[in-house]
Symmetry: C2
Subunit: 336 residues, 2 copies
DNA sequence: TTGTATGCGTTATCAG
DNA sequence: CTGATAACGCATACAA
């Protein structure tokens, strides 16, 4: 791979001059510039981004760490960051953190070694303290889908409680009072918060959610299916189910179907996230829309403005609200 | 961010010594090593990967270019590469090429500027010539889902023709002779090849596929739905449909359902790719399994071995065969 | 307008 | 066992 020296030699100028034309630097003779440009073209010169980052003390890359790539939710997140990266002509540095504190740490570490200064990280397993400490040492680090009390201005998160409330309200408004919940058994706060909001809204309406009506499972289709079977086995009456996410909701629908129950005629189900899947599943899923891609874009722009020293942009608030998307899986209880 | 110098000064040794302990270099006094290690820990030293790459003339990163992140098929591809990257403790450099030659080119260019030497690229819009030229200049560049005649050893691809044949055979074996095809209108070769294989196998069995029974559309659910409606409008008889991919197949099923036709009782449908979606859709999709993640892993390992100068590994062949996954959307014609 | 020289953080080659 | 020192490819202050 040719270097700046090769170009300089070939053009019979100094590397300083070549450097100037590469960077559209000031005061370069038109003739010289044209010739250098031509030669760069000819020999296929590409500026070495690493060397440049080294001397300029500035990385032209945007980092993102997510648990995994194949989950559509995280894919959307990464896609949002990628959008911003492309806009700024920056390289996307992607690291997966899986579902363990140690691998999350390694993922962040890799980015840091690259001297990546702007990065948006999705971490659910490292502690508040550790994350906060990293953040103070890295001005361009912003967290998505997580709230760190000491540095809220560096976080972009969804109001899960509000989401739970909205879901409850939707079910209540449709006349459902015998409710159940299929949630995740992961020990992160999202499931807890969504459930909390769900319960609160129910409580305000004077209806309660019995503990037996809450089933836990792995946050995927199979987990949802299994949990629903367990719920059904308890033989307690319900006409509405709030699922932790769309994948679990898909499992819920399948289990219900297998048990001879119709959705939404016999039971309404509402999911969470509004990933693509919710439109493929039959009946199409009523769900809480989680604007993750938009949030990721804003997070990336926030990170960039933080390292760029730009004024604090217009980010009025970093808390986002989910919205209800009504499709086919929920309906009025009176139809039962 | 502290540098090697900071560590050296703090420890009262030379940077050479620090470098040695960082790299587990030979012959460093136990006491010295321990002290240096401790100090690195204390001040939070992280070796600068850029500087290292510069001096070692070797990048510890793995590149991948795909059209986009949110398509589950490409997400699986990227995930395979990511798996290999993590195994080797390399940073994943991800660039999206969208669906245009110019952006594909830009994506590759970005990786090259990073001096990324091992990369696996999925390109459908740049020409054979341009890609081949890039490849000869970049020993660690391997192409996935594409066949370049001049450098087959640098390509990992699926036998689309065989896939079409297998799909045809499955339908034939189940007694279907009135067939239709819903394919993609993208001007890339995959749709063409799959259709070609489909036709060939049919031909060998003495059944022909009429031109009117072939409908084209965008390779997504909506495209599949619209194309199927167009097909239905023609009022030609068929009991089996071969769809270009699973998304289109999902659209096919929806359109069929809306038209009052039952799958698979009235018509069998088989998709292609076996993405997660195929298990969510009802009825579950019979489809051709495209082992894209496995292929991506092998592609990444091939790329790594190419730059590493390792012996040419065991890659007996770079051509992969799809396999039939029979689920619920296809059945025997006699059941009609 | 152009060239020279210095340094960015590392590794590696030589001497001690 | 350890320390100078010369690259690596590039940007830039300072000269010319």
């Amino acid at each position: 791979m040719p270097t700046i020296k090769d170009v300089a030699k070939e053009a019979g100028v100094s590397i300083a001059t070549v450097s100037r034309v590469v960077n559209n630097g000031p005061k370069v003779g038109d003739a010289t510039r044209a010739r250098v440009l031509q030669i760069m073209q000819d020999i296929g010169y590409r500026p070495n981004a690493n060397a440049r980052a080294l001397v300029m003390q500035k990385e032209a890359s945007l980092g993102v760490v997510i648990p995994e790539l194949t989950d559509p939710f995280y894919a959307s997140l990464a896609s949002g960051v990628d959008t911003v990266a492309r806009q700024h002509n920056m390289q996307l540095l992607l690291s997966t953190g899986l579902i363990e504190a140690s691998t999350e740490r390694a993922a962040i570490e890799l980015l840091l070694q690259r001297r990546c200064d702007a990065m948006i990280v999705h971490s659910k397993f490292m502690s508040d303290d550790e994350l906060t400490e990293l953040a103070v040492a890295t001005p361009g680090m912003v967290f998505i889908n997580r709230y760190l009390p000491d540095i809220p201005e560096r976080c972009i998160w969804l109001d899960n409680i509000a989401g739970g409330k909205l879901a409850a309200r939707h079910l209540l408004v449709n006349g459902h009072t015998n409710l159940a919940c299929i949630t995740s058994d992961y020990s992160i706060d999202d499931p807890m918060l969504r459930l909390q909001g769900f319960k609160e809204e129910l409580g305000e309406a004077g209806v309660s959610l019995r503990e037996e009506a809450i089933e836990y499972g792995a946050p995927g289709q199979l987990g949802g299916e299994l949990a629903t079977q367990a719920l059904l086995a308890k033989n307690i009456p319900f006409t509405g189910i709030f699922a932790y996410n769309d994948s679990m909701a898909a499992g819920v629908i399948k289990a219900l179907h297998d048990a001879g129950l119709k959705v939404p005629q016999d039971v309404s189900v509402v999911g969470f996230d509004d990933v693509l899947l919710s439109r493929y599943v039959r009946p199409q899923l009523s769900t809480m829309r989680y604007p993750i891609e938009r949030m990721a874009i804003n997070a990336a722009e926030l990170a960039l403005s933080l390292v760029g020293g730009h004024p604090s942009e217009l980010h009025s608030t970093n808390k986002y609200l989910p919205t209800l998307v009504k499709r086919e899986s929920s309906s009025n209880a009176s139809l039962s």
